[in-house]
């Protein structure tokens, strides 16, 4: 059986020698290309320092970043020289101190007097407690810890853990002890730091607190829906304005999440993308007719326009936005014109190719009725290319939304710049996450919108090329 197969194979080889040699040639070619790519990847691996990723990747930083995007923290600070004055502040912000105006009401419930009536207890979310005394800090009741700890200052004024000499290293896990600081951080959500001058405790909770109403807002005690319900009641929360107005202004002027500014910036970005694409479409439409050989007989004009399109496209929107930034200053006009100029080139090229690919017969049909040149184009070409135009423009609207974010970050304003600012402060990562989610939502929304418009306008949501 196998020998007969082998004979058969040899016969076929003899019959079609070219086919097999060709196949082997192309296979070898493929292998060579594959190896070249492999070699490049190895070179790239080293020239771009990909090997350094583990060195540069600081898990501590990343964990803090991620933690701060979904959690908030309260700081409790006690100075050793004045142990009665304990300050509790949201995110350590000096403008958001609990209990500054009326002490009893707004001190959070996790801060209370100990049963011995001397110490002050900070209860963490995992039931662990830190108790502040005049001369020591006690750490009690932490899950997974068998013993309690006491941190004191020694005679030189440096903090130390009482009895730490007798404890094994394993018992002290979660502690980081240096000369001037004792830090206790069993998990990311609890942190007790003792310095020679003060004690600072960070208590993390999950969620974006003050997302709707900020710390000092009169609506802060209410949840979003409670506040929404209040807008229908006649009793005014604040005598100066109606509840509805208060509700809207408090959300808009939220200090923590800056909804008003962020949404305005988002609007700017969307305006950049929409008007930029409109500008490009309006510019490219007539120019593309002039650049198509079946409409314009003058070769020099066509050639000039083609090169114009190439240049507009080749000067990337990066460079356009730099030029316009100098002229218009930061603002949407920079973005509109940068997007508009680049896409005039892109759309002009695509449109003129579409025009050149139209069926000649329809135009001839219109011509046979004695219609003028203009009417021939109006009724012979435009109906054919309109779906392509719409499809292309909408497609670019979608990608320009992303582009507008980028132009914004380079100085034109909008959400890109806000994002850069929030990241630059180094501790407002919940804002960073909020804006990232907002951008993601808007980009996906524009994506769906353009697909939906394509579907109702031209019947398919795919990009039509020709």
């Amino acid at each position: 059986m196998s020998s007969s197969l082998a004979i058969e194979r040899d016969n076929i080889r003899k019959l079609f020698p070219d086919t097999f040699i060709q196949a082997r040639k192309s296979r070898i070619k493929g292998q060579i290309i594959f190896f070249l790519i492999l070699i490049y990847l190895i070179i790239g691996f080293f020239t771009l320092d990909v090997v350094d990723i583990p060195k540069k990747w600081k898990p501590q930083n990343a964990a803090m970043f991620v933690l701060d995007t979904y959690a908030h923290k309260d700081h409790v600070t006690m100075k050793w020289e004045n142990p009665d004055d304990i300050k509790i502040a949201f995110e350590g912000n000096y403008r958001s101190v609990y209990g500054r105006d009326n002490l009893d009401k707004s001190i959070p419930e996790w801060f209370y007097k100990n049963s011995d009536n001397i110490g002050n207890v900070i209860e963490f979310n995992n039931q662990g407690k830190a108790i502040l005394y005049k001369d020591r800090v006690e750490i009690v009741n932490f899950p997974k810890y068998e013993r309690d700890f006491t941190i004191k200052l020694n005679t030189n004024g440096k903090p130390y853990v009482v009895g730490s000499e007798d404890l094994a290293k394993d018992d002290l896990k979660g502690f980081r002890i240096t000369e001037n600081r004792v830090e206790f951080r069993p998990t990311l959500h609890e942190r007790v730091q003792v310095y020679p001058k003060k004690v600072e405790i960070h208590r993390y909770s999950i969620g974006w607190k003050y997302f709707w109403f900020d710390f000092s807002s009169p609506l802060e005690p209410y949840s979003f829906f409670e506040a929404l319900g209040l807008t229908f009641s006649k009793e005014r929360v604040v005598p100066e304005m109606s509840n509805l107005k208060l509700f809207l202004t408090e959300i808009k002027d939220n200090e923590a999440f800056m909804h008003g500014r962020v949404w305005w910036a988002m609007l700017e970005t969307i305006v950049m993308a929409v008007l930029g694409t409109m500008f490009a479409t309006v510019m490219a439409l007539p120019l593309s007719f002039l650049a198509a050989y079946n409409v314009t007989p003058i070769k020099a004009l066509r050639f000039t326009l083609r090169r114009l399109f190439d240049t507009l496209r080749g000067i990337d929107f990066l460079i356009w936005s730099l030029i316009f930034l100098r002229a218009f200053g930061p603002g949407p006009f920079t973005g509109i014109f940068a997007i508009g100029f680049t896409d005039t080139g892109t759309l002009g090229k695509l449109y003129s190719e579409a025009i050149e690919n139209t069926e000649k017969k329809q135009q001839e049909g219109v011509q046979s009725t004695g219609a003028s040149k203009f009417l021939q184009h109006r009724f012979g070409i435009i109906p054919q290319i309109l779906p392509i135009f719409v499809s292309q423009s909408l497609y670019y609207l979608e990608s320009n939304t992303r582009g507008a974010v980028i132009i914004g970050a380079m100085g034109a304003g909008g959400i890109g710049l806000q994002f850069l600012g929030a990241l630059g402060t180094g501790n407002d990562f919940e804002n960073v996450a909020y804006m990232a989610i907002l951008v993601l939502a808007v980009v996906i929304f524009m994506d769906r919108l353009s697909a939906w418009l394509r579907r109702i306008l031209i019947g398919t949501d795919q990009l039509i090329v020709r």
Binding site: D49, L318, G329
Partner: protein
């Protein structure tokens, strides 16, 4: 005139008129919406813009003119400057090429796991599609800035950001390509008892590979632009150099960088059109 027509023709005429009216109405509505969007957008821009529109138009040519004057004053000494920035350009190209290659591989994996004709499990398809949607929708700049913050200044954040975005963007196109490919070779291989990997290797891949490469080359062109932009926020390469030069106001050097960039982009544009023409025989 219409009286002479038979009844059914009259009906046709009525219907035609109705349709024409409907069309006109919807076109007018569309145009009205567009005009509304235009004006409200302009109002927003006028309010948000720092400088006024008319002054901006008047100043438009100032900056390019200054750049050219700076360059002209240098005379022949200018050309060594252009050469000086070529290494920076190569860094940018390197970032783009490397991350496109890695992203390409990831995209192929994504595409295989999200194609209806290769995977039967709907959950897997939905999950992969969702993953692609998310990676595709984040602007590279945002990913890059976050990683720049976490890892410090280097080219790596740019590589990571572009790779992630490329994987999503190419993955979507690849999925469409795989789903649109001819099902008969797959059936043929199933009939001789080929395994799943063999089916992909010998029936799907040969059909879609030219298309994949074509999309990949197009993406490379886009990624060169992207990596330049990421340079602006500190990811190295010619973008970072350009940002610094603009800040120092070295007009001639700025123009040199711009020349290099525009030259590269136009060259890549033609090159990619040529390659793709060779690969799949059409320009698109």
């Amino acid at each position: 005139m219409s009286k002479a027509l038979p009844a059914n023709l009259e009906q046709i005429e009525v219907n035609l008129k109705k349709l024409t009216n409907q069309r006109t109405r919807s076109s007018l509505l569309g145009i009205a919406i567009l005009i509304l969007v235009f004006f409200s957008g302009t109002l927003v821009s006028l309010e948000a813009n720092a400088g006024s529109f008319s002054r901006g138009i008047a100043n438009f040519f100032n900056y390019p003119r200054d750049l050219f004057i700076d360059t002209f004053e240098m005379g022949w000494k200018y050309w060594p400057r252009v050469v000086k920035y070529i290494p920076e350009l190569i860094t940018t190209l390197n970032i783009a090429l490397f991350s496109t290659s890695i992203g390409f591989v990831l995209a192929v994996i994504f595409a295989i796991f999200s194609s209806r004709n290769l995977i039967r499990n709907k959950r897997v398809i939905q999950f992969t599609k969702f993953l692609m949607d998310v990676t595709r929708s984040f602007p590279t700049l945002i990913i890059a800035m976050v990683f720049l913050y976490l890892m410090g200044k280097s080219s790596l954040p740019a590589v990571i950001a572009i790779t992630i975005h490329t994987a999503g963007a190419l993955g979507k196109l690849f999925t469409e390509a795989i789903e649109n490919c001819d099902g008969k070779p797959i059936e043929g291989l199933s009939s001789v008892g080929a395994t799943w990997t063999q089916k992909i290797r010998f029936s799907v891949l040969p059909q879609v590979l030219p298309l994949f490469l074509s999309y990949g080359i197009l993406r490379l062109e886009i990624n060169v632009r992207e990596s330049t932009i990421l340079g602006f926020v500190g990811a190295g390469g010619i973008g970072e150099m350009l940002a610094a030069l603009i800040q120092w106001n070295y007009g001639a050097d700025v123009l040199a960088c711009m020349f290099l960039l525009v030259g590269t982009i136009i060259a890549l544009d033609y090159l990619s059109a040529y390659w793709r023409h060779n690969l799949i025989g059409v320009n698109q």
